[in-house]
Point group: C2
Amino acid sequence: MKDAANIDCLAHIHTLVAAMPGPDEAASALARQREPQLTKPAGSLGRLEEISLHLAAWQGRHPPRLDNLRARVFAGNHGVAALGVSAFPAEVTVQMVLNFQHGGAAINQLCKTFGIELGVEAIELDRPTADFTGGPAMSEAECLSAFSRGMAAVEPGLDLLVLGEMGIGNTTSAAAICHALYGGHPANWTGRGTGVDDGRLAAKIEVVGKGVATNRSDDPLKVLAGVGGRELAAIAGAVLAARLQRVPVVLDGYVCTAAAAVLHAIRADALDHCLVGHASVEPGHRRLLDCLGKRPLLEMDMRLGEASGAALAVGLLKAAVACHNGMATFAEAGVSDRED
Amino acid sequence: MKDAANIDCLAHIHTLVAAMPGPDEAASALARQREPQLTKPAGSLGRLEEISLHLAAWQGRHPPRLDNLRARVFAGNHGVAALGVSAFPAEVTVQMVLNFQHGGAAINQLCKTFGIELGVEAIELDRPTADFTGGPAMSEAECLSAFSRGMAAVEPGLDLLVLGEMGIGNTTSAAAICHALYGGHPANWTGRGTGVDDGRLAAKIEVVGKGVATNRSDDPLKVLAGVGGRELAAIAGAVLAARLQRVPVVLDGYVCTAAAAVLHAIRADALDHCLVGHASVEPGHRRLLDCLGKRPLLEMDMRLGEASGAALAVGLLKAAVACHNGMATFAEAGVSDRED
């Protein structure tokens, strides 16, 4: 009976993923029409031009707007943290959530810098997920509950959603998700996270391999429940809800992108509304981005998480929209647009 | 008599270059001391940490500050533009200067986005430099006059100087400077600029080769006069003046970096106070950055000039300073900094 209920829940998410809308062709067309009229050689703003087009297409609006910016950082605790996969003790998750709430973390300064409203959601920190080397990290019901928390966190009227996470042990989950979805050797997907030494790295690789062997499934949502974490499930939910509400998303580093990859494994265009803020130093991230066909906006050698790389990229998005919306056209400025 | 005066002027610049101060060790030490106390794994903010250290060292102040930001865009006209090396007519230089003054260009929107005060200096647009395939682009006196304009444009009290240029034909000058300073084949240094076709690219390569052959010198300042332009000389002057006044600099793309490279050719550490905002699509830029040992902050496939790539990078600098100055320390936040 309980299993039947879970199957219904998963089916519901699959239905929502199938219902994801595509880009708005009318808004795209207007953005494409305006760009070459602006006073610059065609294409000379490079990726800024692509960003404007992306935002118009996925907001379904031209001109695109970046007034109401929201960052959501989800936090969760992990059973595998007890296996010594992190350089920090599990208590740091809750300590850092307090630090977010008091304004002392990197993400607070980054959100202030770029005018982003920060919301932090600590998800049952007093109930770590189970050690996934011995069984699923979460029951499907637990996973779906966290997924729903993420969906509910996307309020109406946002112009952009910046996503990130905090959770000691969660690069181990990210590595396990990627290994489960894309294969290869666990070592290909496992990095030093916050900075583990060689001994812990070897142990971490073993944990990833064992976790995936224990929790095999063809359903990406079951992989998420099996080796993921509450904050990862919430991120996947937020990515889905944002798409349904026409809110473009900026993903952060390895853990955040691995969570989103679960949707991509269900439907190949599921992350088309997402930009990737930066390439993390965590080596699995670049490999994962290749699997997703995503080019990160920034390469700043960062590996902090907490949405820091995604928030940092918001400066580029604001610049792109300012140029697209604010520049004069050749006709307005009386500038010759080619040699005669 | 006139030559003697010129030699004196060049000698004066060489004296100033020799007098460039080094980084402030006390401010550097304070920045290095604070960074590992902040609530994040050591090194996890990557290049943002390097930026904070750079700004402290070159402002000679800890904490570093980014309140008074100035962009300077220098504009000049080029005799070689008449040889068909650009996709745009020479009149566009003055048209774009008007566009800057009316707030319609990309750089206006970027400066507004990041709180940068924009100053535009059009340098004798009605007197293009001479066609450098037949002799020097500028007399040494003309070159030094433009260089001094650049030096004078650095006002006291700036926290950061963002540099850029506008000048139809000036990627031809940039290519010639690089070819003169670093050798190789002119084709290695010559790109499509604003977007010339294959025929014009071939002509442009020939112009670069001829210009360098005509204006050979062991003195980088004579190379600047020989194949440079007024806006390039002004940029070199501004880079020097900024160093003397302890103002860190952000360089823009190929033309701007080529102008600064003239100082690097005189003294290997002359650009240590400069960050490079972005890697331009113009292929010579990356090659030049390798020669200078500089890694660009952004890779946005841009090739607009007018300080656009440098201004875009200012968002990263503001974020770096906000994190370094504003984050809580482990002790302040009660966060464990390692597993015991």
